[in-house]
Symmetry: C2
Subunit: 152 residues, 2 copies
DNA sequence: TTCATATGTTTTATACATAAAATATTTTTG
DNA sequence: CAAAAATATTTTATGTATAAAACATATGAA
C-alpha cells in the first residue's frame, strides 16, 4: 500500500521528466530542422540499416503501428529523404531506405540532437548517467521477460 | 564528447522505459475502462480541483494546447463524466468539473492505475523508488530554473 | 465612450498514433 | 492445382497533439 504510493510517485516523476525533455527536443527539431521526433526516430532506425528495412520491420523496430509507418515514410519520401524500393521476389513488400540526401541530413540532425540531450541531462555526471542507465536496462529486461511470460 | 554519449544512452533508456510503461498503461485503460491516458490525466487534474478549472488553467496544468483541451473535454462531457459551467462575470470563460458520475468513475480508474504502476515498477524497492524520485525531482527543478533563465 | 489591446475559447490545418478493415500477394494444404 | 490461410501494406475511422487563425468578450487608455 505504502509501497505502491512510492512507485506511483516515481512513475509520475519519470513521466514528467521524459515529457519535459521530449517537448524540448521536439521544439528544437522543429525550430532548427523543421522536423519532428517520429521522423527523427525513423531516420535513426534507417541510418542503422543502410541496406534498408521492410515496412513491417520498421514498424517492429520503432514499435509503432503499420499504418503509422506508412504515413511517416510517405512524408520523408515526399521530401526526398527516404525512398521505397521493391523487394525482389515479393511484390507485397517494400524496402525503405534513406537517400544519400537523407543520410547527410540525418548526420546533421543527430549531431545536434546529441548536443541538446547533453545539455538537458547536464545535471547528471557521466558516471551517474552510466549507473542509472544500467539500472534502467535491468528494469527493461525484467519487463520484457514478464511480457513473454504473459504471452504464453 | 564521451560524456555526451553516456547521457545520450541514458536518455534513450529513459525514453524506452517510459514509452513501454505508457503503452502498457494505455492498453490497460483501453481494455478495462475503454478510456485513454489523456482522458485519465484530465480526470486526475479535475479530481484535484473539485470546484473546477477554467479551460486555460486545464491547458496549463496538463501542459497541452488549448485546442487539445477543447476536444478532450468535449468527449468527456459527451459521456457525462465532465461538464462545462459558465463563469459568473466572464462570459468568455468556461469552468470544467467532474460530474458526480465522473468522480466515481475516476476513483475506480485511479485505484486500478495505481495497481498497474505498482506491478510495472515492482522491480524497484520502495526505498529505491523514493531515492530515484528525489533525484529526478532535483533534475526537474534545475530544468525549470533553466527554462526561466532562457525566458529572460 | 471608444478604440486598441489583451484574454479565453474554439476552429482549422497538419502530423502522429492506434485498431480494424480492405487489398494484394504469397504460401500452405487438401 | 485450387481453395484456404498467412503475410505485407495501405486505407479508414477515431483520438490525441501542435500552431496559428478566428471569434467573442473584457479591459485599458486616450
Amino acid at each position: 500500500m505504502t509501497n505502491s504510493k512510492d512507485r506511483l510517485r516515481l512513475w509520475l516523476r519519470l513521466l514528467k521528466i521524459t515529457r519535459g525533455i521530449e517537448s524540448r527536443l521536439r521544439d528544437a527539431l522543429r525550430r532548427e530542422f523543421d522536423s519532428t521526433l517520429p521522423r527523427f526516430d525513423m531516420m535513426a532506425a534507417l541510418s542503422r540499416h543502410p541496406e534498408g528495412l521492410k515496412m513491417s520491420a520498421l514498424s517492429g523496430v520503432l514499435r509503432v503501428s503499420n499504418g503509422n509507418v506508412t504515413g511517416i515514410v510517405d512524408r520523408l519520401s515526399a521530401e526526398g529523404l527516404a525512398e521505397r524500393m521493391p523487394v525482389p521476389g515479393d511484390r507485397r513488400a517494400m524496402m525503405v531506405r534513406l537517400t544519400t540526401e537523407g543520410q547527410a541530413e540525418f548526420a546533421r540532425q543527430a549531431e545536434a540532437h546529441e548536443g541538446w540531450v547533453n545539455d538537458l541531462l547536464g545535471d547528471f555526471t557521466a558516471d551517474e548517467a552510466r549507473t542509472l542507465a544500467t539500472r534502467l536496462m535491468q528494469l527493461a529486461e525484467k519487463q520484457d521477460k514478464k511480457e513473454m511470460t504473459n504471452a504464453l
